[in-house]
Symmetry: none
Subunit: 197 residues, 4 copies
């Protein structure tokens, strides 16, 4: 186990990404060294540099791959009418995207300080803003804006933060989605100038 010099097929790049994401999510970006990644894969550090230009580049490549669904969701959402139905659909899809790329999103949430000055930092920030813009109305009062933002956080919580709380993950996700829908619905039902009396 581990000592057989496996003929290394062309999957090393993928294996690096997998191990890196696992470690980044487990221990954080800063605390994960390239030495550690290399050791787990039983290759040398230099091999990592054959496949990626820098440590940050490993993260970037992972992000690009796993982030695509969210990007597509944003593109789709931008073309829909801003109805309540659309908003709900966005929440549903986002929840699913979160669930699928859970380790990446967990990593992003737990390493905000680090991620902020990495090149994906900008992308992420823009993306959150775009997402909120899709589910809140343009001139929504502050309270409704908070409701919409909180809706997103509810889903993050359901998928990521409550990761090691008791309960079936899928049920937690559903519950969080329900709460999110509730919040966005409430925000939607009130016109831009507060409760439509």
């Amino acid at each position: 186990m581990g000592s057989t010099p496996q003929p290394r097929r062309g999957n090393t790049r993928q294996r690096i990404q997998d191990v890196a994401l696992e470690l980044f999510a487990e221990q954080g970006y800063d605390k994960t060294s390239l030495r550690e990644i290399a050791e787990r894969l039983d290759v040398t550090k230099a091999a990592l540099y054959y496949h990626f230009k820098t440590k940050e580049d490993i993260l970037n490549s992972i992000f690009e791959d796993l982030n695509r669904p969210v990007e597509e969701l944003l593109a789709w959402g931008a073309e829909q009418p801003r109805t309540l139905e659309t908003k709900k659909e966005i929440l549903v899809r986002y929840s699913e995207a979160l669930s699928i790329a859970q380790p990446l999103f967990r990593f992003m949430q737990e390493n905000q300080a680090t991620v902020r000055d990495l090149s994906i930092g900008h992308t992420i920030k823009r993306r959150v803003i775009a997402l909120v813009d899709l589910i809140k109305d343009p001139d929504a009062p502050l309270t409704d804006q908070v409701r919409c933002f909180t809706a997103l956080m509810a889903m993050h919580a359901g998928v990521i933060a409550l990761r090691d709380a008791e309960g079936d993950p899928e049920e937690k996700r559903k519950a969080a989605l329900e709460v999110a829908v509730e919040l966005v619905t409430k925000a939607h039902d009130q016109g831009p100038a507060g409760p439509a009396a």
Copy 2:
């Protein structure tokens, strides 16, 4: 005569904490070196070690000081009856505590991965659980649990995450508190087994 010309006298410990918190919150714990802290204070690194045993110890001391209000809130809450009024009061006080110790909480949120295996990690985790326990009913269904947890996150968002969004900080805090109260109220109104018909 009356104005002290050398303000740095015996207060070095405090100054270290101030600068450290500022830098930890700005750049993250890992990326802030003791050299940097020392340079800002115009003392040597060794001076830091006169006042604190380790880097982590600096953080611990900051945490102990700023966290006291929350600890007191938990103690107080534990002795109150679990009425809706109590829950609301807890939310109000927690929101205030967040506001006062904003840099610390921001630091905690943005450095979760790092904080997790520092000694304050356990404390924080226990505290969040205790807090949720105070505002949710013992046998609340999953959805209500999510509501309560989300209520807390709403307040974190209002005080911390929305820090550089437009708008008056105090108003954002109030709006977040409002949403939080709403969520907890809804959770409270439904009995442990769903809607109290």
Copy 3:
């Protein structure tokens, strides 16, 4: 039909030498990596190793090619009578050789420390000594030896060191040659035991 559309055919070896010399002269030997050379040629590093055994070997091959004229000059000079005319002729030819292989000589001058313990180091050293021997008289006093050595340096200066000083390169070369001739003439006119009274 007549014009070859793919000029890179069998000439890779030459192209490697060209690019390598350019980069060696520009940045120095140590600071020029094989990666850089390969990238400029749009081939892989391994391709370089198909054509050359080592990095040093690339340099050796360049040196061998461009150095031939000087070697021939030495051979020719060794067979001539040691008259002033011969000496002048050697200076003229050397100046021309310098001019033609300018990048190589520039490289040699600016990377003396590095070149010293490369295999061309010995060759170069021997060659300079041989050259001085051709233009100075066997038992010339120290001052005349310095004159002869300085004559060579004057030409190096004229072609290499003054490279980015103002003025037409060819004129600078001529001027340097003139000064060199002057020095050697002076050295020649004085017998082995000082001024021929």
Copy 4:
């Protein structure tokens, strides 16, 4: 030998400079690693970083110290009348400065490619130009300019390049100085527009 933990007096900084210059001159800047310097001094690499911010900084500090005499010579020369006597005096003093700081100048000459993009590169270039300006007449014809530049190179040769040629160093220095004076005198005697008939 070497194992006694000598009480390290406050001379470490100086010792680093000494060893570094020795190695830089012997092997070149690029090929001298901080590990090597540290090992020779029987300290750790980190100790070097206590005293100097970077590898380049070590070189800078050496340069600043040893270069002072030349800087002073330039300042002095700038205030003198541009007579032949002054020029001769400059040559004499420069020759002495070269002799005293021989290892540094040798290093500079043999590592031109490297030094060029270090921070001392600019300083050196400016200095050579300033020096030539002091010994050549403002509108000297090209040949005279070459004479002056060659005069400097003659002295470099006498002190540095001929280092391991036979003969007493001091005598070689004197001979080189003589040749340099000769060249500058010749350049001086001819008016700005060629031979003063």
